[in-house]
Symmetry: C2
Subunit: 231 residues, 2 copies
DNA sequence: AATTTTTATTACCAGTTGGTAACTTATACG
DNA sequence: CGTATAAGTTACCAACTGGTAATAAAAATT
């Protein structure tokens, strides 16, 4: 794990690279610890001293990597948003009907929500950020909402989705997905993938113009219930 | 921008007016102001001084009615929970299939979510409360979840709802509903009643064993508007 | 080995805010 | 009217916590 420069290293660049990498690694470690603690205790209750303690350093050391507590919060959010931007770009680049794109969106979004950085997209309060960053967050949220609505509208236009109120439908779907960030627990009864699959079906069942083709077997079977109690 | 309209003052403590209102009325006024401010600024950013200011009194005066800030928070939550308990009792007392009960539940829950006290059920963090109250909140949340699951299971049992994963279905529905507390704005384009109606349809469309009977006319039209609030 | 740069620590401060004590004023009541 | 009680106000504090020198230690560079 130690990326220290080997003494026999011929390149004068590698030391620099490794140094930079070490720094980035530490920065990331701070974020990982911070997002975890912020989620666990809540942003306001979680102190920087507590974050530092978990990293075996002291509070002022954190200021070598971040300028302020709210900057850390913002970076956590940004990492989650990055994931979202990625798959949205992917889906946008690919083809398919509006319904198909919507289902992809749901699947990907659900899986991101099941991660710490993903949860930070909905569990943190933008009002804790600077005005500037708060605006960025709001714009991103708006953009996600627009994506949902666009795909739904696309689906209505191409006939894959029944005519419906795009705004309310988008809210309904986004609500179910965002909620994942609140109840999902790693290692629980449900895997992120299973949730993603199920939600892609469930949340579009009512919207699909035609019944959704299942992977195998005839439509619904027995009551497949999962063991209760997570939360 | 829910404007603070200084044109009229809902506070019982009018600057130079008689101060002989009932104690309970004042207590309620504190809660109304507090829940509003807590939602507007977030619990931690909202100071008791700010709450008091809006009521034309000073911070220590608040302590005539409440013992602490977190007690105020808890009472706000409790008022919202009271509404929920009420309609859950009502629905439980009435009859109907599992699907019918579920739809009633969705309708009522959606409408409560569109109120300040309702939103406080999902916008406030139980970790800000004392351990004791925090437990009460968690128990209540669990109970709501159980209600959702029970109605779904009832529906499956009586044939009104297609076999499905009760846990995930409950989460999906609750998520959509809880999300209302985050985006709903009074005086916006959508009324609480319209949202409630639409959600009762949309969120059960995929679950219903048989197509839902609409109030009138053939299935979906473009941009259908649900009108006529029941209840 | 000496020097510069990076990284971490100790010590500390400032601003905020929930909460309290002492005191004052208004209302109810005998 | 005079007294008791409830309700408000002013003044204040204690504790917490984000953030900042000043400084030491470690690492890289020369």
């Amino acid at each position: 794990m130690d990326a220290r420069t080997p003494s026999f290293d011929p390149s004068p660049w590698l030391p620099f690279e490794s140094r930079r990498r070490a720094r980035d690694e530490k920065r990331e470690a701070v974020l990982r610890t911070a997002v975890h603690l912020f989620l666990e205790q809540g942003y306001h209750r979680a102190t920087l001293t507590a974050v530092a303690d978990r990293l075996n350093i002291t509070k002022p050391a954190l200021y070598n990597y971040f300028r302020s507590k709210d900057e850390i919060l913002f970076e956590c959010w940004a990492l989650g948003q990055e994931r979202v931007d990625e798959f949205i770009a992917e889906i946008g680049a690919g083809g398919g009907s509006g319904l198909a794109k919507l289902r992809k969106l749901i699947r990907s979004y659900a899986q991101v929500m099941a991660t710490d950085y993903g949860a930070s997209l909905v569990r943190f309060d933008p009002r804790d950020l600077t005005d500037k960053n708060s605006k960025i967050v709001r714009a991103a949220k708006k953009s996600i909402d627009t994506t949902f609505r666009t795909y739904i509208a696309d689906g209505i236009a191409d006939g894959s989705i029944k005519p419906c109120d795009t705004k309310l439908s988008a809210f309904a779907i986004a609500g179910s997905l965002n909620w994942i960030g609140h109840w999902f627990r790693r290692g629980g009864a449900l895997s992120a993938e299973a949730i993603a699959e199920e939600f892609a079906d469930r949340l579009t069942e009512g919207l699909a113009a035609k019944p959704i083709r299942r992977k195998a077997g005839p439509p619904p079977e027995k009551n497949k219930r999962s063991r209760g109690g997570s939360r």
